[in-house]
Symmetry: C2
């Protein structure tokens, strides 16, 4: 088959691909992430690129204006390579490179300060132990392996040990070349420990673990020092699988068509990129990174391990595994120490994954005397209700609107996103992440904005624009919108608006989550006021105004003092799992104790969902505090 | 470097080797085993071959007659390839292809009849379990892996399980392609079990284990049916490492010079050859052979695993491991099921290996109320003394004389070997294995012959020929010999004689073993008569006359009713280990309970050895029964 070179401007990256490859796939192979919501179905119109040189194929689309077509703009997902090409990717099409992660990390410490050091015994999933052995004598000529094991036991408390043949072969020379002072790298794999490696001399001070939250949209990775339990560094990137769709389901369909390998490869390369960049930045040799601990939803972990996902997507929604045993990271292509381990935080079901189990662990929901609720808002919204005696979980498909996708000017919580909207003396004000020019609006900003529009009577309780409600409400190109940032106010002339359709999408998302939470409460005969602690987790903003989240009916109405935004609990739970055997044991107990409640099997989910498609809700009496503050009027 | 083709007649086998390669090495590469005792040092003169065509290099040797040199005879180990060659390997130089193993197997059953089925719970090292799972439903949509584990537990009693990524990846399709009826292949690796493979449908009836006694001279291999615990077939071959020397030490030196790989390769190919031949003969697909269980001395297990042996050979004689964890057989190149396991029976020290532990298990020494002794006669003689409360072991370097090597007309216990010599009405009679023409004499025949020469006054108590003792004692080519079979009596004109040097070698071997046994008894203040049961093991004959073995002073003098020749106990112990978890546990207990007594650390071994270099011993009073029968005279 003919192959052509596609060069991407302004990156100077080029790839050679077979004729007929889409530009979206070609960009993926060049490791350039293009903003795509629909995953290549040609319906979101996000993946606009400009063909500067060469011949392309593809059908016409209604999503481009005549002007754009004249400029050579095409949809990357609908356009195929037919010759050597030069393709420009405009800035607005590019997914951003760098996310903010530090504030999340700090916020968590406020929730459970000092949790790692005080509450858990440190027993990292991979331990390094320096041993100064007594050399063999005629009176004591135990075998090298036995000698090593006899010293490892008291040093680590590990009884039963395995070792690979390669490691055993190297033992005699390493021991003798270093006067019997060596460092053993011991990994914990379920019941037994494995001597993964032996290093000459005392290298026990250098022991680094990688911990990742493998999300549908973003991947956050921390390097953790297993010796002093400190975070060495943190970094995040977009999940490159986005070229196969924003939604997990779209990606699973892609995996069925193309096999698991392409999706696995993208994820593994994202993780490799984060590890290698961070390791280089912090001066950590990859050899010293001895494990990767990942928390993610069940389909993401399947992609990571290259497992087929087809049965997750179809009734009865069966995962291959929700509690995979530890594998060698190299088996999936992750580049750390060649014998390093890959551990996935165990999940509960096909739709409640290890990210949620990690969240329960991190928030301590499973230890609460009172009743706690954890709402983790992502492309799927997951809700856990429980205490130290019981835990019940469900999952609702919210769509990506609250993460800033599915909203025309939406963007993820990153540099340039409006994360906060408020009234100051009657004037609308906003705050932009990084303090610069606004480029769009992220989830927390959208919630603020809608709450404000509601209290100001700009929209009604069904989310419809009220005629004459505000001068910023405009009708243009057949669509209603509210203009938050005027074109002329931004240097690049980009207006930030919210359209009627955007509001509808947000209401759909929040309704899905609220209905799920309400059904869980109803089943247990609980009212929102019975909740002693509400944890709100998710990456939809680095700041979330919980009062507004209640006002729009995303969260149940309860005293604000009981609610806490806890950011990315998935990575914190994963970090605890990396550092502590007790935490890993607790995770397994959480899995065993948590009942999965399948909303699809309930009679009233659709009804509850429909009722929640008002602001804050059809039944306004469910939001007494909102009523009290006069934020909304009855009827 | 120039390479030349060496063709071996009459095998029509050819190899291409670099210039300078010895003919012995070239034959090894062609997988033709040449009889060599000294391992290529040019001193045994066994490896005579005839160069038919081509140019060779090498120094002159005193071990060839002028006639031989004229015929083109050279020593394979001293002759190098300098051009393309045709080399003939005369029949007397070839090691034999086939050993007898069946009689051994039968003999064991007589020692502990029905031991496998009655005394041990069957829990093979690899189990196959057929499972008919209930397919997932909405009400029960456990993950595939969890579902499988939940069914394996009750079917096998195994709690903690691991599985490789490849197996997990295949789970969903195998389950669904076979209506959720599958067979799991579960291997036991120390504390945890591993789901090694999943097969569609019910294949549980086909589960075969290979069990091997990896000896310095010979390798015996049985295929065992794990389902009904029956032996499917048995076969043996010579250890091809013989081209690097008959003695283990010579081979360890070779491994230090050339690396572990060449020695490992020969052993692995021998095992592969036995498995594939037997499997083909019995119609067993290699895929159904799921484990290899090996018992061998510690250096052999090191060779098999490719472990360095240099520290075994040098003080303080430290093994890399005497209790290796189970590995995947494919890791060392053994060709069975690709995920099949390799398990080595644990040993006690560098010089008391798993073959002995297996022997203890097989004879039941470790369970005895009275005192038992096990003498395993091989190139090393190993002695264990003990009962259900204590076990003490030592090892003595005997040399290969009792295995038929190091004796000019000696051969291993195989077709054509004289295995029995006796007087019938004053006439010397002998029995030949297979009943055909005598080609040499094996260990049991040599013991009979020497005992007879002693009682008949042909040799004196120091082993010297008595002048005029018999007309068959002759002086030829400067050497004294006793002619057992005259040249004219055999069709091929091969005389079978025993030379003065042969007798000396046998006396040295038996002295080493007797001295070791005596020291153990002395240390525990025991006399031979305190022994309740003496097990004599080893492959030196398929028949051993224990009375004669006592008469020559190889075994301590005790009532014949207490002594039992038990043949190859190594393979029987290995077979029990393959079939029973209880046996594997017992082996570890035996290892833990057995004290290794190092003869090199004793003051009196050399003295005891010197005293034992008489027939039966310097101190004749140690052999009261021999005295009583008038077999030997005092002084």
């Amino acid at each position: 088959m003919a192959e052509y070179r596609v060069t991407f401007a302004p990156f100077r990256k080029a790839v050679v691909v077979p004729v007929g490859t889409t530009l979206l796939e070609a960009a993926g192979q060049a490791r350039i992430t293009i903003d795509s919501v629909c995953g290549g179905d040609g319906i979101c119109g996000r993946c606009k690129v400009i063909v500067k040189d060469g011949r392309v194929g593809g059908a016409p689309t209604a999503l481009l204006t005549r002007e754009e077509i004249r400029q050579g703009v095409v949809l990357a997902c609908q356009t195929t390579v037919e010759s050597d090409l030069v393709v420009e990717i405009p800035e607005e099409t590019r997914a951003k490179d760098k996310l903010l992660v530090d504030r999340d990390a700090e916020r968590f410490r406020a929730v459970r300060p000092g949790i790692e050091k005080q509450e858990f015994v440190s027993s990292p999933i991979v331990t390094k132990a320096a041993l100064k052995l007594r050399p063999p004598t005629l009176a004591n000529n135990l075998s090298d392996y036995q000698r090593l094991q006899d010293w490892i036991r008291p040093a680590t408390g590990i009884e039963s040990m395995q070792a690979g043949l390669k490691v055993i072969r190297r033992m005699p020379s390493i021991l003798r070349d270093h006067d019997f002072t060596v460092t053993v790298v011991v990994g914990r794999r379920r019941g037994v420990a494995e001597i993964m490696d032996i290093e000459g001399g005392d290298t026990s001070a250098r022991s680094i673990l990688a911990v990742a939250d493998v999300g549908t949209s973003t991947i956050v990775l921390h390097l953790v020092d297993a010796v002093n339990m400190a975070t060495v560094g943190a970094q995040a990137c977009f999940n490159s699988q986005a070229i196969y769709g924003r939604e997990v389901t779209t990606r699973m369909i892609a995996a069925e068509r193309r096999g698991a390998q392409p999706l696995q490869h993208l994820l593994v390369e994202d993780i490799n990129g984060l590890i290698s960049t961070l390791a280089a930045e912090k001066g950590v040799p990859l050899k010293d990174v001895t494990a990767v601990v990942c928390a993610g939803n069940t389909p993401m972990i399947h992609f990571l391990l290259g497992l087929p996902t087809e049965n997750i997507r179809r009734s009865p929604f069966t995962a291959v595994t929700v509690e995979p045993p530890p594998f060698r990271a190299a088996e999936v292509g992750i580049k750390i120490n060649p014998r390093g381990l890959l551990f996935a935080v165990p999940g509960i079901s096909s739709w409640v994954g290890g990210d949620l189990t990690a969240g329960i662990l991190a928030t301590g929901l499973h230890e609460m005397d009172g009743i706690g609720m954890l709402i983790d808002i992502g492309t799927n919204g997951e809700i856990i209700l429980g205490n130290k005696e019981w835990l019940i979980a469900c999952s609702a498909s919210a769509g990506p609107a609250l993460e800033g996708a599915g909203v025309e000017c939406g963007m993820m919580a990153q540099q340039g996103a409006i994360e906060k909207v408020y009234l100051d003396d009657g004037e609308i004000r906003y705050e932009v992440i990084g303090g610069g020019v606004p480029e769009g609006i992220c989830g927390s900003g959208i919630i603020d904005l809608i709450a404000m529009l509601l209290t100001q009577g700009v929209i009604d309780r069904s989310g419809r624009f009220v005629e004459g409600g505000d001068h910023r409400v405009r009708f243009e190109d057949g669509r209603w919108k509210f203009v938050l940032v005027e074109k002329r106010q931004t240097p690049k002339g980009r207006e930030v608006s919210i359209f009627q359709e955007d509001i509808d999408n947000v209401i759909t998302a929040k309704a899905a989550i609220f209905a799920a939470a309400k059904i869980l409460l109803d089943r247990l005969d609980l009212k929102p006021s019975d909740i002693d602690r509400l944890f709100v987790a998710g990456g939809f903003g680095s700041y979330v105004n919980l009062e507004n989240a209640i006002a729009v009916g995303l969260l149940p109405d309860l005293a604000l003092s009981k609610a806490l935004y806890v950011g990315n609990t998935s990575i914190w739970g994963a970090k605890l799992a990396a550092l502590s055997g007790e935490a890993r044991q607790t995770l397994r107990e959480i899995v065993g104790r948590t009942t999965y409640y399948d909303l699809l099997g309930t009679d009233d989910y659709v009804e509850q969902f429909q009722q929640a498609r008002f602001l804050p809700h059809t039944h306004i009496e469910l939001f007494p505090s909102a009523l009290e503050q006069g934020a909304v009027r009855r009827g």
